[in-house]
């Protein structure tokens, strides 16, 4: 007996796919994913309507969703992040029902507690056995951790594993266990490896970004948190990743060995593990090939579920033990509220992901950003969308200076003592505007196209359409 089904279509029929169901997907294949599009293409052919897509994130590769929305196949979207053409289309009003944005911690909490009900979870797995044990570390589309799929596997009414690489029973290790799986489908390809993980992530070469990273490392040094057992998380791009390069010599100089690195894991954090700066890595998502190899081969680098990573409903989650997180921002206002949902015109191009979770959990939450991008100051009077509330954000680091949340006067003093250029956040705004001029206020006036559900389940903001 095995759970192999001949085709995706047959599996969907066997699951009794009906109008109005909620289908879930994880985003570990990122912009190389082919599974979501394949599933919806079949659903459309089957004449299904009114589906809700419960996806941990959506990328530009998922643009076919736009046509499915227009034809009524999809009428609802719930996600933690939305970029590319689908984000723009939602901002233009293509979807009648507002998108429900959650965070990487809030989504598994909603699933674990039943607030969100999933009819069918379609779990793309780089490797699987005929009973449905699945992992992300083998196969041509290896993506590493499958942390964002685990709550779906445990709680969906039906779980379908979709793979392009079969291995004999029993597959080890198994990130998704056969005890939760109904069906296994083998397809030709679950995704394009080049879109799934970058070959190698590179830190920025932009001198402004490097200057910001250098200041950020100094903030960490003078925060008092850089002691033995130090734990750390950083984003995958821009100045965020470069912080690791400036942090290493400081940790060496102070003789500090950290405990864990968390995230969002790239080769740079793997290096830090292998070079002895940390003793372990907790991985909810792998960003590059080095991270995939490391999670496969190094027992000190382990996969964690999204629940263990950041769920506010868990007894504890990793973010609650985190010392420092380095995050980005599209905008930050004088109340330290951060927007990573929209661009400066209010058009959806992102979402919290783990932003609001890590900011809430970490002892020190740092935003790194240039003082202005193109001609737009990073500090505004009021953000166009509150992704992460200001009371969870401690420091803004720019290439011209840092601002500390007034609620942390002792931190401000410590940074000043450390020789860092410390300003009020309003002063940084003025500094930027002296160069750029004051931008005219832009605020979309159309109907609500998205609601931002914070990790405490409150709707903390709404996003309006442009028109």
């Amino acid at each position: 007996m095995n759970k192999m089904i001949g085709s995706l279509r047959e599996a969907m029929e066997a699951c009794q796919l009906r109008d109005g169901m909620t289908l879930s997907f994880h985003h570990h294949l990122r912009n190389g994913d082919q599974v979501l599009n394949q599933v919806l293409a079949q659903a459309a052919q089957m004449g299904i309507k009114g589906l809700t897509i419960q996806a941990s994130s959506l990328f530009d590769v998922h643009a076919p969703l736009i046509d499915h929305i227009k034809s009524g196949v999809v009428t609802g979207i719930e996600t933690n992040y939305m970029s590319g053409r689908i984000g723009r289309a939602v901002s233009e009003g293509v979807l009648q029902k507002p998108v429900r944005f959650r965070s990487h911690g809030g989504r598994p909490d909603a699933i674990d507690t039943g607030r969100v009900h999933i009819d069918i979870a379609f779990i793309a797995a780089p490797a699987a056995d005929p009973m449905g044990n699945a992992n992300g570390v083998a196969g041509p589309a290896a993506c590493g951790s499958l942390g964002y799929a685990m709550s779906d596997a445990r709680h969906a009414d039906r779980v379908v594993i979709i793979t392009d690489h079969m291995e004999p029973y029993p597959l080890m290790p198994a990130s998704i266990g056969e005890e939760n799986v109904d069906m296994v489908v083998k397809v030709d390809s679950i995704g394009d490896p080049k879109g799934i993980v970058s070959g190698t992530t590179r830190i920025t070469r932009d001198p402004v970004g490097l200057t910001i990273a250098r200041y950020a490392a100094q903030v960490i040094e003078h925060s008092g948190l850089l002691k033995p057992g130090f734990s750390f998380q950083t984003g995958a791009g821009g100045a965020s990743l470069a912080v690791t390069q400036y942090l290493k010599p400081i940790m060496k100089r102070l003789g500090v060995t950290g405990s864990f690195g968390l995230g969002g894991i790239t080769g740079y954090l793997v290096d830090m593990l292998e070079e002895g700066y940390f003793t372990s890595l907790m991985d909810v998502q792998c960003f590059d090939l080095r991270a995939v190899q490391s999670i496969r081969d190094n027992p000190r680098h382990q996969e964690v579920s999204a629940t263990r990573y950041a769920s506010p409903g868990a007894r504890t989650a990793a973010v609650n033990s985190l010392d420092v997180v380095v995050l980005g921002a599209t905008e930050i206002d004088t109340g330290f509220n951060v927007n990573v949902h929209t661009d400066s015109n209010g058009v959806i191009m992102g979402g919290s992901g783990g932003h609001s979770d890590t900011a809430a959990g970490a002892k020190l939450s740092m935003i790194v950003a240039p003082l202005f991008r193109a001609r737009l100051p990073i500090v505004v009077d009021k953000v166009l969308c509150v992704t992460t509330p200001g009371d969870t954000v401690d420091v803004l680091v720019t290439q011209r200076g840092v601002a500390v949340n007034p609620a942390r006067p002792e931190l401000r003093d410590a940074l000043k003592q450390g020789g860092l250029p410390v300003f009020d956040i309003g002063e940084l705004k003025d500094m930027a505007e002296r160069v750029t001029g004051k931008p005219a206020l832009v605020r979309p006036q159309g109907r609500v196209v998205a609601e931002v559900e914070y990790r405490d389940q409150r709707i903390i903001d709404r996003i309006h359409s442009m028109g």
Partner: protein
């Protein structure tokens, strides 16, 4: 303090916007090699506007102009002098007569703009065999000359030498520039390190330049600024030793002793002079220089 001079392409608004962020002691706004011949006019206007609009803080402003014999130099000087740069960097300087020619043009512009005569300094770029041969004459040609600067890329071409990582082909030129500058009583600057990705090579190159007597070094990338600043800043040990030297000197003076020694070593005038320079530099950098009783 002028440990680092960072090149900023004069026709690049993005770089002009952020030039003062990187911690370079001096900025070289470049109207010469970084700007295509068809864009010299655009660069002059952009640099003019940038200097008027942006506050470059404590960074010293140097403007590199096109060589004598090109159609650009006169417009360059006319455009640049009213901006009151600390220094102008003439290029392909071959001898004292070049300095006289440029100085005369600057004087005319100073007068036309009601600026104090002689207020704009010169830091000629020596990048030809003739320029290196005439280094001392160039350095002493005019009171405007505050420093001389070695350019190895064009020089190695003029020498018909092969440009190498080990820098053998410019070894004599480096020593000669330092010699001429010190004999003339002006500062001297080393050629920039050109590999943007070789951090170790950069540190070694900067340490070498410091060791043979250069005042500082040019950089072509903002990423090189911290390493070169560090190479030309007195270290904690340098400062500590310098303080000890000054302490034994003062002790000796108090006790009326002519000769003093520190840990078995005679402390004579050159050592005292070096100690004073270290402490002056430390003061200037806010590292704490002379201890006050």
């Amino acid at each position: 303090m002028r440990r680092t001079m960072m090149f900023v392409p004069g026709n690049n608004p993005g770089m002009l916007l952020n030039a003062d962020v990187y911690g370079a002691d001096a900025l070289i706004l470049d109207l010469e090699d970084a700007v295509a011949p068809g864009e010299k006019d655009a660069a002059r206007v952009l640099v003019r506007n940038a200097l008027r609009a942006f506050d470059y803080g404590s960074a010293e402003i140097i403007i590199r102009i096109n060589p004598l014999g090109t159609p650009f130099i006169e417009d360059d000087i006319r455009a640049v002098v009213p901006l009151k740069p600390a220094m102008i960097m003439p290029t392909k300087v071959a001898g004292a007569e070049d300095i006289h020619a440029v100085s005369a043009m600057i004087l005319e512009a100073e007068r036309a703009n009601g600026l104090p005569e002689g207020s704009v300094g010169l830091i000629p770029l020596l990048e030809t065999a003739m320029g290196i041969e005439n280094a001392y004459h160039i350095a002493t040609a005019d009171p405007r000359v505050k420093a001389i600067f070695l350019g190895a890329e064009d020089l190695s071409s003029d020498l018909q030498a092969i440009r190498s990582k080990e820098n053998h082909e410019i070894l004599y030129a480096r020593g000669r520039v330092v010699m001429a500058a010190r004999a003339a009583g002006v500062d001297c600057y080393d050629t920039p390190f050109t590999d943007v990705n070789d951090d170790e090579g950069l540190a070694q190159d900067a340490a070498f330049a410091r060791a043979i007597g250069f005042t500082g070094k040019a950089v072509i990338s903002p990423r090189h600024v911290p390493a070169v600043n560090e190479a030309f800043s007195p270290s904690e040990q340098d400062i500590a030793y310098a303080r000890e030297v000054m302490a034994v000197i003062q002790e000796g003076e108090r006790l009326g002793r002519g000769a003093v020694s520190l840990r078995g070593k005679m402390i004579d005038k050159p050592i005292v002079d070096r100690a004073r320079r270290v402490l002056d530099a430390a003061e200037a950098l806010g590292l704490g220089g002379y201890e006050h009783e």
